[in-house]
């Protein structure tokens, strides 16, 4: 039993990594080389938040940090800062996860939205303090807004299609038994 759940753990970690790689791949496709004044959601952050609140063991901080650092390097962002902020945010969410576990979805959404806002705000403040060129405020805000809006869809997809659900007290898996 232990072996099988360890296999599943590493499988799910691999799945998380490959989802991140797929997102990076999709964003890198040379489809829109024209600037269009629209910023889509940062799906990777939404994904990390959703997994951390459901199955923290599938999305360890090292994996999240490494993935977003890679994205930082590839997307021409200042490397490291965004990754560090997202790791801190996911750790904070993880600490609050036991309280959120028994509640419905809206409080969770609110908490995640607050965490994301904090990440974006601190990111901009640090960049401004260190006099780094940064994106227009409107675009940044739009991206934050889209990420918050897309979060329920990401959660729905993860829980229905990928089986990343909250552990409930009666779950077979929580007792160490696989069906």
């Amino acid at each position: 039993m232990v072996e099988r759940s360890t296999t599943r753990l590493w499988l799910m970690r691999g799945l998380f990594f490959s989802l991140g790689a797929a997102l990076i791949f999709w964003r890198l496709l040379p489809l829109d080389t024209l600037p269009d004044g629209f910023a889509g959601p940062d799906l990777m952050v939404a994904l990390a938040c959703a997994w951390v609140l459901r199955r923290p063991e599938y999305a360890p901080p090292l994996l999240i940090g490494g993935m977003i650092l890679l994205a930082d390097f590839l997307f021409q962002r200042p490397p490291g800062l965004f990754a560090a902020l997202v790791v801190v945010a996911t750790e904070a969410l993880k600490a609050r996860a036991p309280g959120l576990r028994d509640m419905t979805f809206p409080p969770e959404w609110l908490t995640v939205a607050m965490a994301m806002t904090a990440v974006w705000l601190v990111y901009r403040i640090v960049l401004a303090a260190l006099l780094v060129d940064q994106a227009p405020l409107g675009l940044s805000a739009l991206q934050l807004f889209m990420t918050v809006i897309i979060y329920p869809a990401v959660v729905l997809l993860c829980s229905s299609a990928l089986g990343v659900r909250k552990i409930r007290p009666g779950d077979a898996e929580s007792l160490g038994v696989r069906t």
């Binding site: 024209l34 800062l81 260190l130």
Partner: protein, 305 residues
């Protein structure tokens, strides 16, 4: 279950927290290192791109192709109308082609009469666009040619018609082109009939504004914008686009390159100009001439003009 977890926390918790803080501190350390010693980290970034993007390459080309086919499919319902338009356009273009051929012959004759030598070193390497910047805030593309093909930072990239951007960041097999529309792009240009110099300042829109114009009244919408070669950034005379007025009355440039479909880019080899740094023996015989004899300087000067 809950108690179980708490017990686990007792001995794993502090260690985990320590590891997480080490992770966060090292990530912030990378950021600070980037802020302090940007070129070194940017070189590292070019290396990362160099390793990652070619791995994606086998999948990127078909997926991009498929998406583009799907997009083209939407325009198939206007096919007949488009065909008619194209025929009309072709007819008009034939007239222009005739004119261009005559001009080309005339130009060749005149060049021959004047004994002009065009710069033979202005050749190019063509690369395929492998990826874009992946971020709505930055405008750049990654080409599949790099240091292996002799690409050097700062060279100009063009599509068939107009200037697209400049190389910034070269890996072994890949290189990044910062597009003219990126917020960090500044290109010195000259506006053709009036000869005014200006800067094209990228601002993340499709039509970058023209800035630092001396006498805007001499410039009209429709004037040609070409690179000026000032500051040794680019060779002079590359077409960038046309002047246009935006609704706010600001001068912008309508780019000549087709930014919607950047697929193949030419990177122009540019080895800089030879500088004349000795006074020459005729003027001052006391000075020893170490560099090339004055004769070559004169020819290179003529080639530049």
């Amino acid at each position: 279950m809950a108690r179980d977890r708490n017990q686990n926390d007792d001995f794993i918790g502090p260690l985990r927290r320590l590891l997480v803080s080490v992770l966060v501190v090292s990530l912030l350390g990378i950021f600070l290192l980037w802020r302090i010693d940007s070129p070194r980290v940017e070189r590292f970034r070019a290396k990362v791109v160099d390793i990652v993007v070619p791995n994606f390459d086998w999948a990127m080309a078909p997926v991009t192709g498929a998406v583009n086919i799907a997009r083209d499919f939407q325009s198939y319902n206007r096919l007949y109308q488009q065909n008619q338009e194209l025929r009309d356009e072709l007819q008009r273009m034939k007239a222009w082609k005739e004119a261009a051929l005559q001009l080309e012959q005339e130009n060749a004759r005149l060049l021959d009469l004047n004994n002009v030598r065009l710069d033979p070193r202005l050749t190019y390497v063509t690369g395929v666009v492998a990826a874009d910047s992946g971020s709505p805030f930055r405008q750049s593309v990654i080409l599949n040619i790099g240091a292996r093909d002799g690409i050097v930072d700062g060279w100009a990239a063009m599509d068939g018609l107009g200037l697209v951007g400049r190389i910034s960041g070269v890996g072994e097999n890949t290189s990044r082109v910062i597009l003219l529309t990126d917020t960090s792009s500044r290109i010195p240009v000259v506006i053709q009939p009036s000869g005014q110099t200006a800067l094209i300042v990228g601002d993340n829109t499709a039509a970058p504004p023209i800035d630092f114009l001396d006498a805007p009244t001499h410039v009209r919408p429709g004037d040609r914008v070409v690179t000026s070669g000032d500051g040794g950034v680019f060779p002079a005379g590359l077409l960038a686009g046309q002047v246009a007025l935006d609704p706010g009355g600001r001068m912008r440039i309508r780019l000549a390159a087709d930014y919607e479909r950047l697929e193949f880019l030419r990177v122009l080899r540019d080895y800089g100009r030879e500088a004349i740094d000795t006074p020459g023996s005729l003027i001052d015989p006391g000075v020893e001439i170490e560099a090339a004899p004055p004769g070559t300087d004169i020819t290179s000067e003529a080639a530049d003009g």
